[in-house]
Amino acid sequence: MSGQIAPPEQAGTDRQEVPHVVVRFAGDSGDGMQLTGDRFTSVSAAFGNDLSTMPDFPAEIRAPAGTLAGVSAFQIHFSDHDILTPGDEPGVLVAMNPAALKANIKDVMRGGMLILNSDSFDERNLDKAGYAADPLGDGSLDDYQLCKIPMTSMTMDAVKPTGVGKKEAERSKNMFALGVLSWMYSRPVEPTIEYLEKKFATKPALAAANVAALKAGHAFGETAELSAFEVKPASLAPGVYRRITGNQALAFGLIAASVQAQLPLFLGSYPITPASDILHELSRYKNFGVRTLQAEDEIAAIGMALGAAFSGHLGVTTSSGPGLDLKAETLGLAVSLELPLIVVNIQRGGPSTGLPTKTEQADLLHAMYGRHGEAPLPIVSSYSPSSCFWAAIEAARIAVKYMTPVILLSDGFIANGAEPWLIPKLADLPDISTSFASQPNAGEDYWPYLRDDDTLARPWAIPGTPGLEHRIGGLEKADVTGNISYDPENHQLMTELRAAKIKGIEEDIAPLEVEGPDDARVLVLGWGGTYGQIGEACGRLNAGGHRVARAHLRHLNPLPKNTEGVLRRFNKIVVPELNMGQLSRLIQAEFLIEVISINQVKGLPFRAAELEERLKELI
């Protein structure tokens, strides 16, 4: 579909206009809540709202039905203006069973609306969710607007004519819920009907059942005269948009980098949550010459990518925290070999297996220092779903220009979150092409460690090039010739050269930008996925008459050259992070500037409102 969708005709309904809404769909992991949320998002995006989404999956694929552990949720924030986050508190919670209600009610705004599948509130399900009494009858939900709908039975009735089995009929209830919400927020159902007919093309009865459920939900909303709202399209910058998740943007960014660098893309990867989607996505684009190899383990994955880099490909490996631990030794080898390599870490809660499906930013110091010996490397970070596209290109640019491994940090929140994305024009993508060595560079000889004066990068001579045969390895190399060397002075020199090369990249990256009032004395410094929440908190503070500036780092090593200058302009530096103070530590160590940390490790993003409160206390 393309082009903007007009709101459906809904004559006779008085629609209350609201600037933005946060809806959370929650149900059992088998209830299809991710799909429901996804469809709602797609239609809202096409309608022209700005939006931001956040799925919340359980770590288990199918925890026992009806239990708290099995609850899967999807949150969408959509608006008529520019928004930065998926929202702190849902104003509307759709709960398909008691467990979904119990797991999510604490987040719902006081006075918010609860749309509940009343059929599921039976003794058995209440018991499984751990409710001693039925919350629908004991007054515990008095602070909310309650909307009880017997979704299961109404769905069963609606789909009866399609002739599907009882199980399939019951499973269409997520589309009933979507129908209800579509009516409430004047979202058209046609694109979803089209989608369902395509998805179930080979199972027409199933398609008919889902469509019937969707329509029944929509009709119910209308006949029951549920409150109806309207969220007008947002005024976004003109252009063609699509919706994109962080991992998808990252995969597209890697392909774009391969095209712009004129190097074939090679991905070595081992499945791990929440990074596997990048492997899945890249495996589809064989016509771009993308080679993807699902390795036997994390170590092999980076080893293969490094081998491909030695051979002249754009080598990439994608993983998450535990995988990064395993890749550390090969990263050290890549630092020593001085080959371009992109290592993507989609951070999740740690230590150890930690919280695989939850977000955290606690691998920054690991990226900085998680290798033995002096092994500096550049670190690039994304800060929103769509920024992953640009971060991937930037990581590739630095890797090939400076002949170095680069770590790209993203996180589970950004990776799975989605937002509208103004599709970039190809002409706006940077040219990051490089050249391979083709001639001897020392008389008849080729010296693999004869550096470029400017970048300190060594030349890249790939197998197949006659006359440039050479051997490189992890043993310390003599400056220039690359032969094995145990000479003390040489080791000192090579260590310093490797460090200087990375440090020198500061000349070649965008400066740190400050947003906010000119007379602000307080700077909120962030990095990574906290971008939206910090922006929202600072925006509200400034709107409330406070004066706060914010800056967000996209390069963590080296830091932009103006970082110290920026920091010294302020009286107070506050660093909110989803860790126990890792950027704080780097900043204090580097510049001897005192910073105030705001730390949270709950596996969840900050809530903008909470952040606002914390900042208010500090300023």
Partner: protein, 357 residues
């Protein structure tokens, strides 16, 4: 983008499109690098290096198309001594790095040099998976049944009871039999030879070089410093004729002085050593390296519990199976043919889009 003479990396990633260089007649000396060889005097590695350098010119592959990859250990210094492209990697990871090279660049011939500790202990996982995938790699495992570079600890091929620095009371571990391990890992080419075999070693190397897919050679290599004489049963004057069983495809398995001994399958399916005089040549097992079913090759691999008794040498198995890189290239080609070459603009605007005016 400037590129190496005669080679052009296709930007759409289909790899090298043109053969490079001429294969001017090369000599052994062309493969000898300018680096001083630093193994202990008398080490078996010297003979293996000489054999590899000597067969290289016969392969008809230009030097720039050959890559040697190694891990860590005495044997892993090997790439520095070859005047080809080379990577001295990290402990155990050579097969992984080499898999990346071979799948990125099917035009290259990639050799892995590893040892019993490097390949079977710390790198065991990569070793078996490279064989399983049938990546186009020639894997030379120098088996000296000891850790040399770390100065003499027992290895995964050291025999039970082995007294070393880390096993002062003798090793209590069951060793690997590298040939049967490789067969179990679905290897398509599996051979064994000895560092001192002046004729047999180059012959096996040639067969491995000609094999498409993973070719694995276990080379018994004497570490005269930490495990001298480990293969004496096969290398002593007496042992040489008594204990070396040369496997020859299509021939009955015979060995010993005057070929008086042979191998036959008993009624329970077990292999046993017999006197040819007793059973006749017709009663002997005829070696078939190309047999799809690896069980006979496996039985031969298990004939000797260790190199201290009659031990088969030569090619145990040599079968054809699709090469990993070929399958990947095929998918890239058919995707490009069916969907057309990648169009970045179309990719970025794929899926549902909408226009804001």
């Amino acid at each position: 983008m400037t590129q190496g003479n005669g080679s052009a990396l296709d930007t759409k990633g289909r790899g090298i499109t043109e053969a490079s260089g001429g294969v001017a007649t090369l000599e052994r000396a062309d493969f000898v690098s300018d680096q001083e060889v630093r193994w202990c005097p008398g080490c078996g590695d010297y003979a293996i290096l000489a054999a590899v350098q000597s067969i290289m010119p016969e392969l008809g592959i230009p030097r720039e198309k050959i890559v040697f990859v190694s891990g860590i250990g005495c044997s892993s210094r090997f790439p520095y001594y070859m005047d080809t492209y080379g990577v001295h990697g990290i402990h155990g990871r050579a097969p992984a790095i080499a898999t990346g090279i071979a799948t990125a660049r099917p035009d290259l011939q990639v050799w892995v040099v590893t040892g019993d500790g490097d390949g079977l202990s710390i790198g065991g996982n990569h070793f078996i998976h490279a064989l399983r995938r049938n990546v186009n790699l020639k894997i030379l495992l120098f088996n000296n049944q000891i850790y040399g570079l770390t100065k003499g600890q027992y290895s995964p091929t050291s025999e039970q009871g082995k007294v070393t620095k880390s096993t002062p009371f003798g090793s209590v571990e069951q060793p690997f039999n590298p040939v049967s391990l490789a067969l179990g890992a679905e290897a398509t080419f599996v051979a064994r030879t000895l560092d001192v075999e002046r004729k047999h070693l180059p012959e096996v190397l040639r067969s491995a070089a000609a094999h498409r897919g993973s070719a694995f050679i276990e080379i018994y290599q004497n570490c005269n410093i930490f495990n001298d004489g480990a293969f004496l049963a096969l290398t002593s004057k007496d042992g040489r004729s008594k204990n070396r069983i040369y496997l020859e495809h299509g021939a009955p398995v015979r060995f010993g002085d005057n070929n008086a001994k042979g191998v036959r399958m008993d009624r329970s399916g077990r292999l046993e050593i017999v006197d040819v005089a007793d059973v006749g040549v017709e009663g002997l097992l005829v070696h078939d390296a190309t047999r799809e079913d690896p069980s006979l090759a496996f039985a031969l691999a298990r004939l000797a519990a260790g190199p201290t008794m009659p031990t088969p040498l030569g090619v145990f198995r040599q079968v054809k199976r699709p090469v990993y890189g070929d399958g990947m290239e095929q998918q890239l080609r058919s995707a490009a043919a069916e969907q057309g070459p990648g169009d970045l603009g179309a990719l970025l605007s794929s899926g549902d889009t909408w226009t804001v005016t």
